[in-house]
């Protein structure tokens, strides 16, 4: 049974129905452990003092803000190529969640920077690209809301997601060029040696796992809602067709 089988709505509902309770439990566990560990049991940073504790919210939410858009890009491609309704609905479901994570990244970034940069909002390129990403999310959600026919809406939003992704990356580099930037170095880059000190590292990983699980759980939940809404719409059309 190929992966594409999961795109069949009924099978998707059955699988996610079973998985969701476990997913919620695991999410709650990871988030609770990660945040309490990071908040209570890590020392202050010698330079930044206690504000370093904001890393446990800022980095995971920033990561998820970007990954949510990537997930939407992939599901949009799947919809355009293989016409699987569940894929398009998953993209529609993920957008508000991704927007919320981006908003969290913005808020925590501004709050974290305030003591260091001395202003509430610093036009730092990386933080500003999250603002631009948030605008992309708004446009995407608005387009979904504006079009009645679900298939047309799915097609148009998929095209917007593809084009938007290119422009999001372009904006990212334009912003780096536009203002040299005060953002601290990558706290989580793949080359390990310049990463954050170990004591901050493990709670951060747990927090990231928690945010990823939360994202997956929310997307599953919202996709199931979208599928049920489409089911209601389909039944209404059927009732109308058999009545007319």
């Amino acid at each position: 049974m190929s992966l594409w089988e999961y795109a069949n709505p009924t099978r998707f509902m059955r699988v996610t129905g079973a998985a969701l309770p476990w997913l919620w439990a695991l999410t709650a566990l990871c988030l609770a452990v990660g945040l309490t560990w990071g908040f209570f049991f890590t020392p202050d940073d010698f330079r930044q003092g206690s504000t370093v504790k904001i890393i446990y919210l800022h980095v995971p939410s920033a990561l998820m803000g970007i990954n949510a858009w990537l997930m939407m890009l992939v599901t949009s491609l799947i919809w355009l190529i293989r016409r699987h309704h569940v894929s398009a609905l998953a993209a529609k479901a993920a957008a508000p969640v991704g927007a919320t994570f981006t908003l969290i990244a913005l808020a925590t970034g501004a709050l974290w920077g305030q003591p260091m940069w001395g202003t509430w909002w610093e036009w730092d390129p990386r933080l500003t690209s999250f603002l631009v990403l948030f605008l992309f999310y708004l446009g995407y959600m608005a387009l979904w809301a504006a079009i009645e026919d679900p298939d047309t809406a799915a097609d148009l939003t998929s095209v917007l997601c593809l084009v938007g992704s290119v422009f999001a990356i372009l904006s990212r580099y334009a912003l780096v060029f536009w203002n040299q930037g005060l953002h601290q170095g990558a706290s989580l880059s793949l080359d390990a040696e310049e990463n954050v000190h170990d004591v901050f590292w493990y709670p951060l990983l747990v927090c990231i796992a928690g945010f990823v699980l939360l994202f997956v759980a929310l997307v599953f939940l919202r996709t199931r809602t979208e599928i049920r809404a489409r089911r209601i719409k389909a039944l209404e059309t059927r009732a109308r067709m058999s009545a007319a």
Binding site: F40, K53, S61, P96, V97, T108, I232, L235
Partner: protein
């Protein structure tokens, strides 16, 4: 038990406060929407099961309006 947050206590706490509030909002909204849609669907499916077609149309006010301007 509360760690000594020093002079940045306000920033750290408000960062945690805002983030947790936003996470809670998106989660609660999603759950409420899910419940509402599920209840509507259950009503419709029940309606469809009892009378195949006739009562389904009268069971959900949506369809009557839909049929009116269909």
């Amino acid at each position: 038990m509360m760690p000594d947050l020093g002079k940045y206590a306000l920033w750290v706490l408000s960062a945690y406060g805002v983030s947790i509030a936003l996470l809670a909002t998106i989660t609660v909204l999603s759950i409420l929407q899910s419940r509402r849609t599920r209840r509507a669907l259950q009503a419709m499916e029940a309606g469809r099961k009892t009378g195949q077609g006739e009562s389904a149309r009268s069971a959900t006010p949506g369809t009557v309006k839909e049929a009116a301007n269909g």
